[in-house]
Chain length 145, copies 2
Amino acid sequence: MTSTRQLFNQHNLRCTSQRMALYEALAAHDSHPTAEELFRLVKPGTARLSLATVYNTLEVLCRAGLARKLPTTNGCCRYDADTSIHPHVRYRESGRIDDLPRHLAERLLQSVPREVLGDIEGELSVRIAGLNIQVIADDSPEPKT
Amino acid sequence: MTSTRQLFNQHNLRCTSQRMALYEALAAHDSHPTAEELFRLVKPGTARLSLATVYNTLEVLCRAGLARKLPTTNGCCRYDADTSIHPHVRYRESGRIDDLPRHLAERLLQSVPREVLGDIEGELSVRIAGLNIQVIADDSPEPKT
DNA sequence: GTACGTGCAAAATGTTTGCATCATT
DNA sequence: AATGATGCAAACATTTTGCACGTAC
């Protein structure tokens, strides 16, 4: 198991208490928090922390490949420390984003034929940097069982 | 062929010159404009138009099912008058969103097994309202051929 | 005539930036 | 010691709102 410190060193990131706390919180939660949510989550346990640092850090983490921004339709970004390609469920009204349960995610991803992606790269002359799949759901009245 | 007027009547929307101009512009372009872009696109040909009306109208169109918001990672929303489920290419740096060429879109969509979607609905107790697939591409140095 | 849409300006929201100070290397 | 990160406040960008006026029905 790799420590956050090691991970940061590998990516040439300075190990400040704020960064480590933010990264660890992001990695520990699967709720894909907004910057604001992450701030409220981490602030209490950290000596000093400002919202600007949260934004700066998230930007740095994304550039280093340790996090990614998830696309949303309500103007505020959500972040995920899991940078692998994996589908999400986005709830329309609340804007919440969940991971799809693993077995469903697998089935969905494996159904995408690799050669289609290759053909897309060829025909559009682009390099595919990611694949974002979101199942859009109406907010369920009942919480998931 | 259905006129915008008929379409609006069917959806109980008032036919104001601004709304019709906005909808027609949105439907005519496949560039998935932001509110601001749509405003600049439509303003010149319209007697009076304010940005607030663009936002109001887009909201109304989305609620009526005549348009939809596309998720983005840069804080400003993009809109599409094509409400069918169809995959997009999103360019990382510029934020531009294109439709995938039809035959590639078909192949991608048809590869998704219908029963996986059914199972998702069953297991999460949700109603799937849409499926959003974005191929993320680094901006290509050369424009598409 | 009534209900609803519009324009304008102001406010709310989310994110970025400039700069002095502070911490990590 | 030098480089880079942080906090704060101000700037910025995008979207929403309140209200007086105008237009579609």
